[in-house]
């Protein structure tokens, strides 16, 4: 049961990452602008973060969906969701109204304040699923099960 719930968690978090990254991929300049709009990072590293994020999102998403190094991918996924939650809380607290840029777009949005609670709730949900995967590690239907198949049995048989 636990292992099957893990598969669901992998697919949900993984597909969200792939979609979020794929939408941003065609337009790095918009992605950079979305990061800048948070007014959180030093301007020198804003472009790097904006250019790197879509790639990392897609790669983390793919590894989660495939179940490749599941635990490691889930750790990265958790850290990223945590960073996004902190980011959204931070702009909300500072009274900055921006589109979170989570799925493309980004920048100023006058109606943003009403979106923040729902965005935070969504990211907390996805964070919990990621943390669950960190905890279980092994799940069904994962590439991990093929490449790390045990060739020895746990207890010595002694012929």
């Amino acid at each position: 049961m636990k292992e099957w719930f893990g598969v669901v968690a992998r697919l949900v978090t993984g597909v969200v990452w792939i979609v979020a990254g794929a939408i941003k991929l065609p337009d790095p300049a918009t992605s950079v602008q979305a990061v800048r709009a948070y007014q959180l990072l030093p301007s020198a590293i804003v472009p790097t973060v904006g250019q790197l994020l879509p790639i990392v999102e897609i790669v983390v998403g793919l590894t989660l969906v495939l179940g490749l190094l599941t635990r490691g991918a889930a750790v990265v996924s958790s850290v990223l969701y945590l960073a996004f939650i902190v980011g959204i809380i931070s702009v909300w607290a500072r009274g900055i109204t921006i589109d979170c840029g989570c799925f493309g777009g980004g920048g100023f949005d006058p109606d943003a304040a009403s979106q923040y609670p729902w965005e935070i709730a969504r990211d907390v949900g996805l964070l919990l699923l990621s943390l669950y995967l960190v905890w279980v590690g092994r799940t069904r239907l994962a590439v991990d099960n093929l490449i790390f198949r045990a060739t020895t049995t746990p207890a010595p048989e002694g012929r």
Partner: protein, 242 residues
């Protein structure tokens, strides 16, 4: 050798063999993880470099300050620095930037340290953005650059909320008059939106130049983005011009 000790030796040997096998397996798993991590890192780095090359954020190829057809300039053209500011009359960050820089830039321009051109256009595609920029064009033509610059400053001082409600063209006429325009010369053209074709051309020119957002600042022809917040940006820009 007793039967029992022979069995023990056999069991020990089997255990030792198993231990070797387990060690090999752990080694194989470690190598596998390392290999997969390396491949993933290579993909991330490769993708990042491709994405970086595709990023057009700083590829703004705009006409030099004073040589464009869509702005108002202050200062001496031969000043050591030039600044071009693309802005939308409704954009809140433009309002913040104006608040933090308009009098300082005017002073620096007077001192001959910088030549500044303001290029308003319609980024946000709102009625106010279009009407205000069109009124700016009418004032520029009818009353000259000094009044147009004053009008521009007044519009930012009294900037409406981006969400609305927007002031009407009558209010724009009032501000133009307050800036020093002759009411009879600008009133009809502002009310009728005569400057709107110019605004569309200005917006197309900004877009062609690669301007993607407002405010976009060009310092000596290069996109200037050094600052976490708008205030940081303003302070860093002013510091460059001292």
């Amino acid at each position: 050798m007793s039967k029992q000790s022979a069995r023990e030796t056999r069991a020990e040997r089997a255990a030792a063999a198993l231990e070797v096998q387990r060690r090999q397996e752990r080694r194989r798993a470690t190598l596998m993880i390392g290999g997969v991590v390396l491949v993933i890192l290579a993909i991330v780095v490769g993708g990042f470099l491709i994405n970086r090359a595709r990023d057009t954020s700083t590829d703004v190829a705009a006409p030099a300050a004073g040589s464009g057809d869509y702005g108002v300039a202050i200062g001496d053209k031969s000043a050591p620095h030039t600044v071009v500011i693309y802005e939308d009359f409704l954009c809140p960050y433009c309002g913040e930037l104006e608040k933090a820089t308009h009098s300082e830039l005017a002073t620096l321009a007077d001192e001959g340290k910088v030549y500044v051109e303001y290029r308003p256009f319609n980024l946000l595609q709102t009625d106010y953005s279009a009407n205000a920029a069109a009124a700016f064009k009418v004032v520029l033509d009818a009353s000259g650059p000094d009044v147009a610059k004053k009008f521009h400053d007044l519009l930012y001082e009294n900037q409406p909320e981006e969400a609305g409600p927007y002031p009407d063209t009558g209010w724009l006429v009032d501000k133009a008059v307050e800036a020093g325009a002759e009411e009879g010369q600008v009133s009809d053209d502002i009310t009728q939106g005569t400057g709107k074709a110019w605004v569309e051309d200005a917006s197309a020119a900004a877009s062609d130049a690669g301007v993607r957002g407002t405010p976009t600042i060009l310092l000596d022809g290069k996109v200037f983005q050094d600052g976490r917040t708008v205030d940081d940006l303003a302070n860093n820009l002013l510091a460059q011009l001292q």
